[in-house]
């Protein structure tokens, strides 16, 4: 059972701001409906009903649902993946620590946050679970 996420400051009301507040503190949080259904991407209210959402903390384990190695011009190939968290949300991220072409659908992965950038921004990325 996932733990409730810490309550953000009262001026943080948008799902974007709440997400970033958790990320920058090294937490991956996701909203759930009153029935416990996870909602991702985060929204202001539950889709379909408009019910209020509450936020839970992910344990940070998941499985690669879909993957690509992106060959952008003037860059080394890099990973883009959709990750199914064990709690249910499916989020976009990347898998680090192995060549992007070796990221396979079904790979078990573990959460790792990037180091803060000069603005304190951190984002959730993943590494193979076996290396976590």
């Amino acid at each position: 059972m996932a733990e409730p996420a810490p309550t953000p400051p009262p001026d943080l009301v948008s799902p974007v701001a709440i997400t970033a507040w958790h990320w920058n503190a090294g937490r991956l949080a996701y909203p759930v409906t009153p029935a416990g259904e996870p909602v991702w991407p985060p929204r202001a209210v539950a889709p379909g009903t408009g019910a209020p959402l509450t936020w839970l903390l992910s344990g940070g384990r998941g499985t690669v649902y879909a993957t690509t190695a992106l060959h952008a011009r003037d860059e080394d190939p890099r990973s883009i993946a959709l990750i199914d968290l064990d709690e249910g949300p499916r989020m976009m991220s990347r898998v680090e620590g192995i060549p992007p072409g070796d990221v396979a659908i079904g790979l078990r992965v573990a959460l790792r946050f990037t180091d803060p950038d000069p603005d304190g921004v951190r984002i959730p990325v993943f590494v193979p679970e076996r290396d976590a």
Binding site: V16, T19, A20, W40, P41, P42, Y65, A66, T67, T68, A69, L70, H71, A72, P77, R78, I80, A81, L82, R90, M91, M92, S93, R94, P100, G101, I105, G106, I123
Partner: protein, 382 residues
């Protein structure tokens, strides 16, 4: 009240395609195509009372077009859901015409994305939960769907390539096609990787261009010079905007849009003589063949093998060469409709499908987001 065969596409034309001269505006191409489509059916801008247009470069596109051509429309529609917008325009024009809100609807598109650069022409909206990972869009989304389809159903790299090879074979028969040199499966696989498993030959062209069609009541169309192409069925559906919210990446909302269109037309996939399925990337026609009911889910890869969708094959698909080889000025849906119209009129020369009576044109918008299906027929099918 049935909407089947109440309206007809009576005029259709492209603008100049390919690489536009310096200084060309998107509305120039819209207007050029519009005048050609109106001339095609013996009308002028003065006859138009409904204006429908969309392009990424002009958020108020119908106003630009009406200004350019001096049209004072009483019905205006700027619906923009990406490359499928024009299928929605046809459905909206039909509703407006049947309701008496307009009589002659002009639907137009124009883009100068090759001239000014794709990044400038199609500014991608920022999704805060995807942008941090810098997905190149839209190709990343389609690559993820292709990877998932290969994983779930055993679809092969070679089967994806068959879509591009077949499109090129059709393009060699279309004098207006942008890419007409022969293409092999091996060449598709060996070309520059873009987003695995897709190479640059799995991706649609980047061209300039525009198009236009004229829609009016079936009664009025019967009195105009061109053979009317009747709108037998239309359906649209959508489930998401960004790929993260799609859910199952191997099944699109075309399941719903196609079912609605076929139900309205009173037809089944077996009745379709020629299909134009938006080929933004080689995975997309495979998904739509499955979702529209031409084969079962997971069989799309096998379906496109053995020349079935190429000239001379049993299932003529994207007979103009498609977005992969004919033209892809950013939003391709209108060009799929134009080719369907020409096939039903029997105007396609070397690429004509013999005795084509029923055509399907399917549009895709966003990242497999907006799906819209039109089923068109000759007068004999009314």
């Amino acid at each position: 009240m049935s909407l089947r065969a109440r309206v007809a596409i009576t005029g259709a034309a492209e603008s100049d395609l390919g690489a536009a001269p310096a200084g060309t505006r998107p509305v120039d191409l819209m207007a050029q195509a519009s005048l050609r489509a109106l001339a095609d059916c013996g009308l002028t801008p003065a006859d138009v009372d409904g204006v429908f247009a969309a392009t990424t470069q002009l958020p108020m596109a119908p106003l630009n077009l009406a200004t350019e051509l001096g049209i004072r429309s009483r019905y205006t529609d700027a619906t923009n859901v990406g490359g499928s917008s024009f299928m929605l325009h046809v459905a909206h024009a039909r509703a407006a015409i049947v309701a008496g809100a307009c009589e002659v609807a002009l639907i137009a598109y124009g883009s100068t994305q090759r001239l000014i650069g794709r990044a400038a022409a199609s500014v991608q909206e920022v999704d805060p939960w995807e942008a941090p990972f810098r997905p190149a869009l839209p190709v990343t989304a389609y690559a993820l769907a292709a990877a998932r389809h290969m994983h779930e159903f055993g679809t092969t790299r070679e089967q994806l390539a068959q879509v591009a090879v077949s499109a090129r074979a059709w393009a060699t028969r279309n004098p207006l096609a942008f890419s007409r040199e022969p293409l092999s499966v091996a060449e598709v696989l060996a070309s520059r990787p873009v987003a695995d498993p897709l190479t640059v030959r799995d991706c649609c062209l980047v061209t300039d261009g525009g198009g236009a069609i004229v829609v009016t009541s079936a009664e009025r169309a019967a009195a105009l010079p061109r053979p009317p192409v009747l709108v037998l069925g239309a359906g649209d559906a959508h489930r998401h905007r960004h790929i993260t919210a799609m859910g199952d990446l191997t099944t699109t909302a075309a399941v719903e849009s196609g079912a609605r269109a076929f139900s309205e037309a009173g037809l089944t996939p077996a009745d379709v003589d020629v299909a134009q399925l938006y080929d933004a990337f080689t995975i997309t026609p495979i998904l739509f063949l499955e979702d529209l009911g031409f084969c079962t889910k997971g069989e799309g890869g096998a379906f496109v093998e053995g020349g079935r969708i190429a000239p001379g094959g049993a299932f003529p698909l994207n007979t103009n060469g498609g977005g992969l080889s004919y033209t892809h000025p950013g939003m391709y849906g209108l060009h799929a409709i134009i080719e369907a119209v020409r096939q039903l009129r029997g105007e396609c020369g070397d690429r004509q499908v013999q005795n084509a009576q029923i055509a399907l044109a399917h549009g895709n918008g966003g990242v497999l987001s907006s799906q819209a299906t039109l089923i068109l027929g000759t007068e004999q099918t009314a």
